[in-house]
Every structure is written in structure tokens, then in C-alpha cells.
């Protein structure tokens, strides 16, 4: 599903001279296709270097589970990038929300879904608070969310020490272990079993579909994009921009909470270190996928492909047993090469469009 969305351009008055009809860019110029090709090349490369890359149980299933987490992490950042904002507290929002989930499971013994909803509400609440501060004070989102990140870092540690005396809840709510270990291959209808896709994957797919539909078809999503594209114009068009800022940040918090839940499910524990490694990947996935840092245009499919690319690189290099320093160096180099190739493809496409017009 292509979900790149930008506000529709206002109607242009007829020009004095008729413009030549705009040529559509060739299929290969689509940035998502570029990412898909890079991913495919890397998969072929890694599988030929180490056949273990195609091991369904030990490589492909965990890889899909990891991708699921980082797709949702990317979507959490995408929600505010749509405004041209940043959420530097994306990891700590996930940590606070998973604390709320862990507390609900541990103290109240609530079912898995109820605990998840509690965490999502906390995530959305803390996100909305960030949005409210940004909208009301006019302070840059970077500053507000960075300050929030520092505050939450301390708060999460204090809360875990208070509630657990450590850094993790020992509770394992019913169903968490299935989410962690099972794939659809473990569930059969008669003789027919499902594919080896971890149970967490549909949750991430549902989140991506939801965000895609929001920005593509819902009025709220379009108004958020319009606010990100040009706040003044949006206000003059009657869009309540402050409320849209709050809504986008609340969505970011909610998705951060969902990413925290998925990571807790993958790790099998609700712990204070959830979200520590979210910040960089949260930017990497949407930016690789073509979401603009300036706001006004997002790409959900691109974010999913961006997250897939980074996880494929990480998994492949890990399997090839690169040393710690080499791992960091080559992840950087491969990402740089991927971005350069994508840029080259875009430039070639633009030139071709210009020369043929």
C-alpha cells in the first residue's frame, strides 16, 4: 500500500500559456521501489555469504519481530515529522507506558489486552502533554521533548525502584509468551498451518494500516499534514492547528507505547531499559523512506521499508560475526551507500523527467 501523502495543492488559476502536460515519473523513480531493491540486493548478498540468513526459525522469524518493533518506532516519529516536529522523548514515552502496563499486570492482574490499553492511554496522554506544551508555549518541539526525555528518564527509574525494587517486572501476563515465541505456523486449521510469521507482526501491520489510512483518507490526518506544510495557511483555512499539534503528538506517544509493548513482548519482560535504543532508528526509518523532516509529507510504506532495511543490515552483519567496531562502521557505510544510491536514482529520474518534458 502506497501511503505517501501530501496536502492537495490549492486550485491554480488558469495560466496565460498552457503548460505541457506533466509527465509521470518512471516506476523505478519511486523511492519505495529503490529501498525495496536495496533490501532485495542485501538479502541476496547476505544469504549467499551465510545461508543461516534464511533460517526460518532462528533468523527470519526473529527478524520479522524486530522489524515490527522498529516499524512502529518509526511511525511514532513519523506522526510528529508530519508537522515538521520532532519527538526526542520517543524512547522514554515507551518506557513510561510499558511501566504502566507492567504495573497493571503486576498489581491488578489485568488481561494482556487491558494492560496494553492502559499503556497506550498513558503513551497518548504523555504525548498529548508534550503537544500541549509545544502548542501553548510555541517553544520548539526539539527543546520540549528533549526536556521531557530527561524528566522521564529520572521518573522511570524512580517508578521502577518504587514498584519493583529493581528495573523490571517479574510478571508474565497470560498470552505474552505466545506473542513472544509463537508464529502462525504454530496454529493450524485441520492440516493447514499458517506461515512462519510471528504473532507480533499483524499488530505492527495494523498500526501501519491505521496510520496510513489516517494520513491518506481521514480529515484529521490531512489537517495535520496541512498544519505541517504551512501553519499560517492552515489556520487561515480554519484548521484548529493547536489541536492538530496536540493530536499528532498524542498519536506519537500512543505509537511509542505500542512499540514499547512489542519490544516487551519480544524480550519477555517489562523493564526500565525499554526504549533506550529507539531514538536514532525512529528518525532513520521515516527519513530513509522519504518522509520530510520539514513536515507536510509522510510515507508509511517508506517507513516500513526503512525499518526493514536497517534491521536487515544489522542482522546480516551480525550473522557474519563482524566485531563491535566493524559492525558500527559497516552499518554506517551500508546506510550511506543505500542513501547515496537512492539519491542517485532520484537525480536520474528528475533529469529524465526534465529532458523528456
Amino acid at each position: 500500500m502506497k501511503t505517501e501523502t501530501a496536502p492537495e495543492a490549492p486550485a491554480v488559476p488558469p495560466a496565460a500559456e498552457p503548460r505541457p502536460p506533466a509527465r509521470a515519473l518512471p516506476v523505478w523513480a519511486n523511492p519505495r521501489l529503490g529501498l525495496l531493491i536495496v533490501i532485495a540486493v542485501l538479502v541476496v548478498l547476505f544469504s549467499s555469504l551465510t545461508p543461516a540468513f534464511l533460517d526460518p526459525r532462528l533468523t527470519l522469524a526473529p527478524l520479522q519481530a524486530d522489524i515490527s518493533v522498529y516499524v512502529v518506532v518509526g511511525l511514532a516519529q513519523l506522526a510528529v515529522l508530519s508537522l515538521g516536529h520532532m519527538n526526542m522523548a520517543v524512547g522514554r514515552m515507551a518506557a513510561l507506558s510499558t511501566f504502566a502496563m507492567g504495573l497493571a499486570y503486576d498489581r491488578l492482574g489485568v488481561p494482556l489486552l487491558v494492560g496494553l490499553l492502559v499503556g497506550l492511554a498513558v503513551g497518548a496522554g504523555i504525548g498529548a502533554l508534550a503537544g500541549l506544551l509545544i502548542a501553548k508555549t510555541g517553544v520548539n518541539s526539539f527543546v520540549v521533548t528533549l526536556a521531557l526525555d530527561f524528566g522521564l528518564l529520572g521518573l522511570v527509574t524512580i517508578l521502577y525502584t518504587w514498584a519493583t525494587g529493581g528495573v523490571s517486572f517479574a510478571v508474565q501476563p497470560s498470552g505474552l509468551s505466545a506473542l513472544r515465541f509463537d508464529t502462525f505456523a504454530d496454529y493450524c486449521m485441520g492440516e493447514v498451518c499458517g506461515p512462519r510469521i510471528p504473532l507480533v507482526v499483524p499488530i505492527a501491520v495494523a498500526a501501519a494500516l491505521g496510520v496510513g489510512l489516517l494520513f491518506r483518507h481521514a480529515r484529521l490526518g490531512r489537517e495535520i499534514l496541512m498544519t505541517g506544510s504551512n501553519t499560517v495557511a492552515a489556520e487561515l483555512s480554519g484548521i484548529p492547528t493547536h489541536r492538530r499539534v496536540v493530536a499528532a503528538h498524542a498519536l506519537s506517544g500512543l505509537l511509542a507505547a505500542l512499540a514499547g509493548f512489542l519490544l516487551a513482548a519480544n524480550n519477555g519482560a517489562f523493564s526500565a531499559n525499554i526504549g533506550e535504543s529507539f531514538l536514532l532508528p525512529s528518525f532513520l526509518a521515516p527519513v530513509l523512506g522519504g518522509t520530510l523532516l520539514a513536515g507536510g509529507a509522510v510515507s508509511v510504506l517508506g517507513t516500513a521499508l526503512g525499518a526493514t532495511l536497517t534491521q536487515v543490515i544489522y542482522k546480516g552483519l551480525n550473522l557474519l560475526q563482524f566485531s563491535l567496531e566493524e559492525l558500527k562502521l559497516y552499518i554506517g557505510l551500508v546506510l550511506l551507500a543505500a542513501l547515496s544510491l537512492d539519491r542517485l536514482r532520484a537525480v536520474l529520474a528528475e533529469r529524465r523527467a526534465v529532458s523528456s518534458s
Binding site: D55, Y187, M189, S271
Partner: protein, 349 residues
Amino acid sequence: MSRRMLSRIGSGLTVVALATTTVACTKKSDTTDAEAGGREPAQVKVALVPGGSHPYFQPWKDAGAKAKTELALGDVTFNETAGWDQTKQNDVLKSLAAQGYNAFGVFGVSPDNINSTFEDLKRQGFPVGSLASCPAGANKADFCLSTDVEVAAYKGAKAAIDAMGGQGNLVHLTGNKVDSNTQRRIAGVEKAVAETGGKVTLLQSVTDIDKDLQSAQRAVADLLAAKGRQIQAIVNTAYNPAVASAEGVRQSKLPIKVIAIDDDPTVLDGLRGGSVAATVLQNPVGQAQVGSYALMKLSGGCTMAEPGVTIDSGSFVVTTDNLDGYEADRTSTTEALRKKFDGDLLKCS
């Protein structure tokens, strides 16, 4: 049909498909722990996986290589790419399993949730040893071969109390406060201080300063500036504070006795130069060698007499008096550990 309609139909179908899959299907069978066993030594591939890069684990490399030769194992690898992140460590372990490694000696990044990782590995039939650190609560690995951190901290504090003449003020420098092992180290130091009957006061336990050397240096500088003249001894139960306090005390020329930890060259130089009064050594070589041996035995079909048992890998106080002979003590402890596994801890048919 409009694209909007198509999108809606697509979303609806996805939801229905998911609901059908999860509700109408039956689970094949509950996965239970696969049994490890029946592997010849040459089929055993051991992965030694610390929580991240740290000088403490460097001896694991050579010890693992030595175990591979001596025990004729298929392979022994050392992978320190986890970067002190439990999620990354889980990923590293899965990647190693995919490459054919089938026995794991792991220093878990987070003692509070490493048990989930151990369960995960055991479900797949791999023997697992928790090396150099035990999980908080009941150990879900086959065994835990680690320094008894409370005993090691107690020995260090006793050495500090001896060095300061049995009276005065002591300061304890250590790592992450919310780590259960740090709490045990604090308990060990408090026990030694309590035994002095009030002659020694534990002035302060400074925590969370083992993240890196810079933060340890800053904390030591602040401590010496604020209370340097009241302190008679510093006992360290973490690596970075040990290096920072040896250096800080030497530069400040204060008459403070420093008890360090481990045998990093900086610490040994400090011991020889007099800026470190004693150091408490652990046994990383023994952990890797005996851990690999036990994993090989478990892979071959042996079982633990007491699953999850914790074994102290040993700790030794080293001063200038026994600086040249401590390695022999450590080697004999390692040998004794191996015999203990053969005699008491393993059940082999």
C-alpha cells in the same frame, strides 16, 4: 470502484483474516524445552557472550580458544557486540544460534530480565550457563558460574579495613544502583563494616559511576574535594571507579588506602607503585574454561544434579605480598571448580 472503497475493503479483509486466524485455529502443540544431549565434543559449538565490551571479559577470548583445543570442541567463539543492550544481546544470541552455535555461556546485560533469554535458548534445546553474573531471582540457566559478589565485596571491605588500621571512615564506589548485584555488593561491604563494632563508619556508598571512566573520574574528584580529608579508605567493587580512585588519590596525595578490583594493567601498576593497597581479583579465565567444559558435558547428555545451581568462581585479595603468586591460586581454583562439576554438580549416565 474507487480507491477509497478498495482501501476500506482491504482493511476489512485484513481484520477478518486476522480474527479468523487467531480464533478459528488450534495450536499445534505447546512447545516444551527441547532436550540437549547426545553431541560429541566435536559437534559442540560454544558461544561466550558478554553483555558488551569490557576489560573484564577480555580473558574469555584466550580461555575460550584454550578450551576449544583442550576439549577438542567444534568451535568456541567470543562475541561482545551486544553493546550493553538486552535487546541487542538477545539478537546476537539468536544470530549465533542460526550460525550453528549450540551451547551458550552468557553474561546477561540485565540480571532482572535475562531469565527470559535463558528460557528462550533452552526451549530450543541449547545448554546455557550464566557466566560472571547470576540472574535476579531463580536462575533459569542450567547453572550460574560467577563471582559471589557479596563475598568479593566483603573481602574487599575487610582488606580496606585492615589497610586503614581497623578504624576510620570508609567509602564504597560501585555501579548501577538498580542492579541486584550492586545491592549484594553494598550488603557485603555493610557486613564487613558492621563487624568492626562501630570503629569503622561507612561514610557513603557512591553508585552509578561505572558507566564509563569519565563519569567515574568526575565522581571521584567531587568526592575527594568534598570529603577527601575525612576518608581513610576507598573500597571499589566496579572497574571504572577502581581505576579513577587509584589515579585520583595518587594525584591528590591524600593518605587514602584504595582497594581496587580485577587485575587490569592500570590496577596492577597502581599496586606496584603504592597508590593501590590491594585488589580483589575474580576468575574470568575459570568462568570461560570451566563454563565451556560444563556446557560440553551438558551437550553430551549430562544433566545438572541441581538445575540452576549457583557456583562461586572464586575471588582473591592480592596485595604486594602475593602479587607474583596469585595466578597459581587462580589456576588451582579453576582446577578445583572443574573437579566439582565432575564430582558433585553434573549427573552423567
